[in-house]
């Protein structure tokens, strides 16, 4: 822990606030009927996205899940372009063609949220394969959840990554619920990371609400990947404050569980560290909150005022203009 300096922790705190306010704004706007389709929010899981991405370079890759807003923001995505995409506007990252479930900023190495559970893992294998073949020095992180750990591709991806010693970290956000069912419905072992020895890779289960722990664990795994020693499996135990999708009545959660979890808010936890260990004043933290909240409000205004896409572009980007031949 000693390696972390105050600036780094302050930056992580700020990004966690950004994600929180982004997700809260998306939730509110969804309730008001401004966002079409489905959205899946990551409130309560901010320490995972931020702890992971704080160890990566812009040239490193991440592949994400259907719950990908936090990952995109943590990797350096622009909240305005993200919000515009959620609002299905032409100014959005995908010009309104992908929406929340395909949020991506490839320019910062965020290769996309994905609507097919589990596919982030082999797609991450592919990004790591590019890094290995091209000897670029980049690493890839594949985010997934405990629900995806039961998919066949999870096994296929971890098997290939280990066989080929790829520069890859499999990062499992075990947020206690996969879709509408608890961990025990999907996973017969106490920890997803317990499976790592079967792939001859290191596996560790950590507290996903502790951004410093996530950062430190990731630093080791990234160094290992970049050093040519192959993939790792990290499982972060975390908690999804909201439902699977906005509007989910969450009848499957025990009464009082979410309220109890909120007491361990990962943002409050990092704030306690900043105050106690680094002597950061409350006012500095309050200012960070205010600035991030204002930036998200600006993003919402930008998205609301942006024009809709027009039907004349319905077939744009189905095919790439032919290069090569």
């Amino acid at each position: 822990m000693s390696k972390l300096d105050q600036q780094t922790v302050l930056a992580m705190h700020r990004t966690m606030c950004r994600i929180r306010y982004f997700e809260e704004a998306a939730s509110a706007k969804y309730k008001e009927g401004d966002l079409p389709g489905f959205i899946h929010l990551s409130i309560g899981q901010e320490a995972c996205a931020v702890g992971v991405c704080s160890t990566l370079e812009p040239s490193d890759y991440i592949t994400s899940t259907h719950r990908g807003h936090g990952h995109c923001l943590a990797k350096g995505g622009d909240a305005k372009l993200m919000m515009a995409e959620l609002f299905a506007k032409q100014a959005g990252y995908s010009q309104g063609r992908g929406g929340s479930m395909h949020i991506a900023d490839v320019s910062v190495g965020m290769l996309g949220a994905n609507g097919i559970v589990g596919q982030s893992m082999p797609l991450g294998v592919g990004a790591a394969l590019t890094a290995q073949v091209k000897e670029s020095g980049a690493v890839a992180v594949a985010f997934f959840g405990e629900g995806a750990s039961g998919a066949g591709v999870a096994h296929e991806a971890m098997n290939m990554a280990s066989l080929w010693r790829l520069p890859l970290v499999f990062f499992c956000e075990a947020n206690r619920y996969a879709e509408l069912s608890p961990y025990e419905t999907h996973v017969p072992v106490a920890n997803v990371a317990d499976r790592a020895p079967a792939y001859d890779m290191p596996g560790v289960t950590i507290d996903g609400g502790d951004v410093l722990a996530v950062h430190e664990t990731m630093r080791e795994a990234v160094a290992r990947a970049r050093g040519g020693q192959g993939p790792s499996l990290i499982e972060a135990k975390t908690y999804r404050w909201h439902g699977h999708y906005e509007g989910d009545p969450q009848v499957y959660k025990p009464e009082g569980e979410t309220e109890a979890e909120k007491k361990g808010d990962p943002i409050l936890r990092v704030e306690a560290v900043l105050k106690e260990r680094f002597g950061v004043a409350e006012a500095a933290l309050t200012a960070a909150h205010a600035e991030e909240k204002a930036a998200i409000a600006d993003a919402v205004t930008f998205a609301e005022q942006a024009p809709d896409p027009t039907p004349d572009g319905l077939t744009a980007n189905v095919y790439a203009e032919m290069g090569g031949v």
């Binding site: 395909h102 797609l123 990004a127 591709v153 096994h155 980007n317 189905v318 790439a320």
Partner: protein, 327 residues
Amino acid sequence: MAKLKYYQAFNRALREEMVRDEDVIVMGEDVGESGGIFAQTRGLHAEFGGTRVRDTPIAENGFVSAAVGAAMTGLRPVVEIGFEDFLTCCMDPLVNQAAKLRYMLGGQVSVPLTVYTFGSGGVNAGPQHSQSLGAWFAQVPGLKVVTPSTPRDVLGLFKSAIRDDNPVLCLFAKRLIGSSGEVPEDGADFTLPIGRSEVRREGGDITIVGVSTMVRAALSAAESLAEDNGIEAEVIDVMSLSPLDSDTIIASVKRTGQLCIVHEAHAPCGIGAEIIARVVEQAHGALKAAPLRITPPFAPSPFAPVLEKAYLPNAARIADEIRALLA
């Protein structure tokens, strides 16, 4: 011109593209030192090494998806699925990922992925190793699908597929692997455009459109129709299922007034149905009679040689049905 077998043309195309572009890698089951069950990748591992010619575990879903991830990030992967039937094991990375990522991400990426496989029947491989599934993929925007039937077409279309910035599915035919044909000389850097059909035989009485193995059957039928009945058939090799070159077909039908389509895939919602639909939509007045589709019956491909022979369309059946049509 040089003479090559179908699988040799495949090998040459791949080798030429690997020499030309170091981002081209090959991956799949047994593509490495073993050289593959049809000797299709023989010599590539020795020449280019295990980093670029990579054996995979038996995990089609996983390794095709990995190839999609690699294609998004700067490689140009060429992926083998040994038998076409196993495309069913990687539908998600092909249909939900490769075909849609560029669109879903608003043009932020391209997916220059080539997936090749060996399909068609006629080698007694039974229901799970004999299928022709190309039409399924021709229904997916974002994918291209080619069906080369000669060594020349294998060379030209496979090289174009590898250079294409879009995902392309190359459907080769097991039955044609040992067939020979003329190809441009080494060093010619020969490519063929994807999405163009070719007239293989000219004739004014009927247009026969063949897919893959059925082009040869159609040509053979055309010869016997000419000899025995004085019927001159025009034979078109469709070559690409997507994009489909309906212009070449429609121009021919306008000359002949008659249309017959032959393929190994089943008839319902198949490429023959699509061709007929386009002809009817764009040139319905040109047809003098109802078009003819010649396909296997709506049943899986049987194992028994005597049954498979009866199952697959052949030259005699094509000639007979056309004689009946034109009688």
